[in-house]
Subunit: 388 residues, 2 copies
């Protein structure tokens, strides 16, 4: 196991009606916050009312930044920073999924940074200090509610980059599974794919940590068990609760620390979103089985066998290669037939026209993606082609 | 899944040589601490020197409280509080296993409490504020390094009670697996039994949380895989690292929150330690299989089946009762033959002389232990008898 530092200080209030804990916790930091949210579904499903009632009850003033995009844009970040400065706000409260929370994070740092916030997206080392960040989660997917990460896009230059620092970990997050009841099938499925992909990125590695690998299998089993239930019964509390909690633990540090974890599928997918603005989780689902087939080799087959046996319950006495291939087929079948995700790039409206450009950008300025198997641009093109 | 609040703010530095992070972290709080440790093994194995070198390097003064007992006594707590007050110390640093850390926790609160600290052991609600607590872990067992819990004994009255509050969660813990290389076989095995028992207490419950149950299985598998390796090869880094990290996660809140978790075996064992001062983990190992056999019934058999199939790899197509009994037999065999724990009360030097008295005290002032199956004093006597 590698050396590591771990601190996960976010205070979580998990469960039905737990929004009642929000006001007093915010008041420990400020009584004037920026309220960040997306397209307005929170006004239809009552969450906006729950949150603002709680703010009013605790005499917390707020200014609003609405219409944050699903792949949040640097323009929204700039706007949020301006509002915080204009109104002298002391905290940022995101109500939404990863997009709103990610946007809130970079706003919170940007207020304390005197140049353009895109710098902070390009270079996380510039992130030194932030306004306190709070979140009310409405989508089980990115894990942004209990981690430092934020992904921000500049569509003008087709750039989608990840950033984050200790100061961008939320102070308090409200996780009410009922707040995800109204998430449509498409985004429920994409969220599950995102949780599973975060787990795969940690699990398929070059240097393992035993306990963390078993924890990863626990999260994968949870997604496979409850994903289809949440799709069929959107108001199944246990399904929504387990998926919500799985989303948090897939990426809050537990799985990553102690093992190697150079991510492969996320950088490839970020280019799909940056060029075509597709739903992140759908892009991940399409790429994952292809990536698995492309990288499977004699050195890493044991991990695929463990995946097949421990997660999918495949008979451990079968031939190794057979187990590995069955596990990959089951993964693809799960996304396609259990989660109803459109499982090709063409179905997502993506052709081969930008494959070369995207494959180079996926390197993020390096020569290759150093994942479980090193990928150069030509490898990424081949994987994209497998997904057409 | 039940509603819950979770915050695990301890900063963990995990790995070889990570003690070099201790000084600067302590200095954020104080430059004068109480150094709490046990019987002096840390002077033989070099850990005392590592820690004090780090304190000297950072110009941190310290006063020592040595000779904390394996079941830490209230007398040590009183002595520690006196030293903190006499020398105006600003923090408590435990170097050791759960005993030293638990003792440090109650000292840290006791300094801020103006009556006798036994009150704090009896009633955790009196714990309001504490000096900052730091730990350097030398034994994988109790999880005290990342949780609020402390167990303190008063041997004069045969009382051993658990307490803890938000203010007793350590600020910083150093987890260096090499610091457990010199732990003797007996205590390595007892530590593994303690980790597994914490996990069982959460796993065998009346109201389940799916993801947490799979996480529990991950920890059990880790113990079963690495326990025997650590016994055979005390300097196997991966074994020591995985057991150390498993000890932390078995009891830091992840497994407990969201599910029911009324503990059964720990209260029964605390009476063995309170009356006979036996090694806690050995007492747990002896009681666990007997408790499992006693409580197994039609209502809870599915959990035993999951335990057998998911943790022990028993064929899921066998008869349920057969799987459950095989799983219990394998648990007993593991403790007896893989971990070499003396598996009867007589081997621990305990006869039936105090069974009635202990069984009543195990109720902790209530009528029964409300675990997966409710246990009254007469049930506890029967379980003790099964272990003779």
């Amino acid at each position: 196991m590698y050396n590591f530092n771990l601190q996960i200080p976010t205070k979580i209030h998990f469960g039905k009606g737990m929004v009642v804990n929000l006001g007093k916790d915010i008041l420990e930091y400020s009584d004037k916050v920026l309220l960040v949210y997306g397209g307005g579904s929170i006004k239809k499903n009552g969450i906006y009312k729950d949150v603002t009632d709680e703010l009013i009850k605790n005499k917390i003033e707020w200014v609003e930044l609405a219409d944050v995009d699903p792949n949040p844009r640097i323009e929204s970040v700039r706007e949020g920073i301006k509002l915080c400065r204009q109104h002298d706000l002391g905290g940022v409260l995101a109500v939404g999924g990863g997009s709103s929370i990610d946007c809130a994070k970079v706003i919170a740092v940007g207020v304390k940074y005197d140049k353009d916030p895109w710098d902070l997206v390009v270079d996380k080392k510039l992130m030194k200090d932030a306004l306190p960040i709070f979140s009310v989660l409405t989508l089980a997917a990115t894990g942004s509610e209990m981690d430092p990460n934020a992904v921000i896009s500049d569509m003008a230059t087709n750039q989608k980059l990840g950033t984050g620092a200790a100061c961008t970990v939320p102070k308090v997050s409200i996780l009410d599974p009922e707040y995800t009841y109204s998430v449509p099938v498409k985004h429920t499925a994409a969220g599950v794919a995102d949780i599973m992909s975060h787990t795969f990125e940690n699990y398929f590695n070059t240097n393992d940590a035993y306990m963390q690998a078993r924890m990863a299998e626990a999260i994968l089993k949870t997604c496979i068990h409850y994903g289809p239930i949440a799709l069929a019964q959107p108001e199944n509390y246990d399904a929504r609760a387990n998926l919500m909690w799985a989303s948090t633990w897939a990426i809050n540090g537990l799985l990553a620390q102690g093992a190697s974890h150079a991510w492969s599928v996320h950088p490839m997918e970020h280019e799909l979103s940056a060029f075509y603005d597709v739903t992140h989780g759908e892009g991940l689902a399409v790429l994952t089985p292809a990536w698995m087939r492309y990288v499977l080799n004699e050195d890493n087959i044991d991990r695929f066998v463990e995946y097949g046996v421990n997660v999918w319950g495949i008979d451990k006495n079968l031939d190794k290669l057979q187990i590995a291939n069955m596990a990959i087929d089951l993964t693809e079948d799960f996304f396609a037939n259990k989660m109803n995700i459109p499982m090709s790039l063409s179905k997502l409206g993506i052709g081969r026209e930008n494959f070369e450009k995207m494959s180079v950008k996926a390197m993020k300025g390096k020569d290759s993606i150093k994942g479980m198997v090193e990928l150069r641009p030509e490898d990424v093109v081949k994987i994209y082609e497998m997904c057409l």
